[in-house]
């Protein structure tokens, strides 16, 4: 692991909504190939940080560097195309489309034909569409959704909807995957299964993961590095053991509010 070149770096990140500082002077790094965790009590500013990284919110102060380049003033879709994709706390699928079409749509960056070529169905259209279809199929197969590809996304059971959302995010060939409470509403069995999937995805697609989670077993089980937030400020930063043993963290989060869910 190259300590000198983090994949993602937040520098003194601040986001104010009116007078409220939802995120206050937060700095941390995500190393290439790592799984990092972002934890904190409800309202600590975790999802706000995700929204800042993906460009949904504009940064008030500070910088976000992805592969050494600032991305905080870019359009959200450009950040996504540049290699940062995410899932949502409250699942956001293309509900009325089939499982296949959800992934097929998200694969659009892998095809290179223009509007003229699609309207007149020129040879390039057919060639590139074939590539897209194959890519969507292979992604669904890897994620174990190929049996479900014809179902409407909103008819899927909850766990599979989460998995489909991750699959859709993978369709953009991201370098960094942001998962916002992927295990929310899951039982321990499903959570364990999810942990396995996240680990496999990271290995197979050679990417880094930053995950927000309240399930401590999931976070402690898979994260190399954990960043703890409380009221928008950094509380602790380090390995799973060092964070779990930090008295401040125990007081604010693990001890005082056992099982914040």
């Amino acid at each position: 692991m190259n300590e000198a070149l983090p994949l993602l770096e937040l520098e003194g990140l601040t986001k104010r909504f009116g007078g409220l500082a939802a995120v206050n002077n937060v700095s941390f790094k995500v190393q290439e190939g790592s799984i990092s965790g972002l934890i904190g009590p409800n309202g600590a500013g975790k999802t706000t940080i995700f929204n800042l990284i993906t460009g949904v919110y504009k940064v008030t102060e500070g910088r976000i560097l992805f592969q050494g380049k600032p991305i905080h003033d870019q359009e959200p879709y450009k950040i996504a195309c540049g290699g940062v994709t995410r899932t949502f706390q409250n699942i956001r699928l293309f509900k009325n489309l089939s499982v296949f079409d959800n992934v097929y749509t998200a694969c659009h960056r892998s095809a290179h034909y223009n509007l003229f070529e699609s309207v007149f169905r020129l040879p390039n259209y057919w060639k590139e569409e074939k590539i897209l279809k194959e890519k969507a199929r292979s992604l669904l197969a890897i994620m174990g959704l190929e049996d479900r590809q014809d179902i409407n996304a909103n008819n899927l059971p909850y766990g599979l909807q989460r998995r489909l959302e991750i699959t859709r995010a993978l369709a953009l060939d991201p370098k960094l995957l942001l998962l916002d409470e992927p295990a929310a509403g899951m039982n321990p069995d499903e959570t364990e299964h999810l942990m396995k999937i996240i680990g496999e995805v990271r290995r197979m697609f050679n990417l880094s993961v930053l995950v927000i989670e309240h399930h401590m077993d999931l976070i402690m089980g898979i994260c190399n590095h954990i960043h703890v937030l409380n009221f928008g400020c950094t509380l602790a930063d380090g390995t799973a053991e060092s964070v779990a043993n930090d008295p401040k963290v125990v007081e604010a989060y693990l001890g005082a509010e056992e099982e914040t869910k």
Partner: protein
């Protein structure tokens, strides 16, 4: 026969405009109540080209249609830049204002007849031209929707934020939808002007814009075959009941209400009446049934 053909021409002209609106409303999820305005621009610009420029016949008409489509598209770029960042209902209200503004401006331009109207335009539009253009427009719309650009439009309709996170340039996608829909409305306006040979700004009032939107919703949002069915039914309905005089518009209204209450998703409801479209419905049902059976089996296994 002439009468039937006349209705067919009207259906064809409306179909072209409604197809465009179907892309914008049915597939991209943007409601517009100002497409009468784009039709008006297409109609008046094409009428100027075909009747004021003294061009020889074989070039005048194609040029008039082209000018109608391009001018409507050009204005839509301007309108889009101003309004496409508006969310939900606000965009709808802005388009309504645009449609009314076009009508009121035309009322005051004496060069094109003002509020009195503009008569004695040449009749270039024939049934065969309308039929040909309809086929071209259906094919173009179909190809657009079934491409990566078209799927991006649907993604924007389904979940704008998620579309953005999937790398879709939402603003550009909306712009493409608006430009194509305005161009098609422009073509429809051009055909109309050169068919009925008379133009008046009130022909393109808000009722006209609403009519177009109703046809899209009646046929079913997100379905091209639904759009075609909806247009054919709703344009011919008042003609079929012409004997009932003033009651025919009541019947029209009743038909719309019955569909909206009984089948809110429209006649086709997002489904395409094509072999692959029908296969898709059955595949979805089969896969759902299989999933339900497996989940049930798993549940029973746990209980046992």
């Amino acid at each position: 026969m002439d009468y039937i053909q006349g209705i067919a021409v009207l259906i064809g002209i409306n179909l072209i405009a409604v197809l465009g609106l179907s892309i914008l409303t049915g597939f991209t999820g943007l409601f517009s109540f100002g497409h009468g305005g784009f039709m008006a621009i297409g109609a008046y610009v094409s009428a100027i080209v075909s009747s004021r420029l003294d061009l020889p016949h074989p070039i005048a008409f194609p040029l008039a249609i082209l000018a109608g489509a391009l001018s409507a598209a050009l204005i839509s770029v301007f309108i889009g830049k101003l309004t496409l960042n508006l969310k939900g209902d606000y965009f709808c209200i802005a388009t309504m204002g645009f449609g009314e503004a076009v009508r009121i401006i035309l009322n005051n331009v004496n060069y094109v007849g003002g509020a009195r109207g503009w008569a004695n335009l040449p009749q270039f539009t024939t049934w065969w031209i309308v039929l040909g253009l309809c086929i071209v427009c259906v094919v173009v719309t179909w190809n657009l929707i079934n491409s990566r650009q078209g799927r991006n439009l649907v993604a924007v309709r389904e979940e704008e934020l998620a579309a953005q996170m999937a790398g879709v340039d939402v603003f550009r996608s909306k712009m493409v939808a608006l430009i194509v829909s305005a161009a098609l409305a422009g073509i429809a306006g051009a055909l109309m002007a050169n068919y009925i040979q008379f133009l008046r700004p009130t022909m393109f009032n808000m009722a006209k814009s609403t009519d177009l939107t109703i046809m899209v919703i009646f046929g079913g949002l997100g379905s091209i075959s639904g759009t075609i069915a909806g247009t054919i039914l709703l344009v011919s309905l008042p003609e079929v009941f012409r004997n009932f005089a003033q009651w025919r518009l009541v019947i029209y209204g009743l038909a719309v209400i019955v569909i909206m209450v009984g089948r809110p998703q429209g006649i086709m409801g997002g489904v395409e009446l094509t072999p692959s479209g029908i296969r898709k419905i059955f595949a979805a049902r089969r896969a759902k049934a299989k999933l339900d059976a497996e989940l049930k089996a798993a549940e029973q296994g746990e209980v046992a």
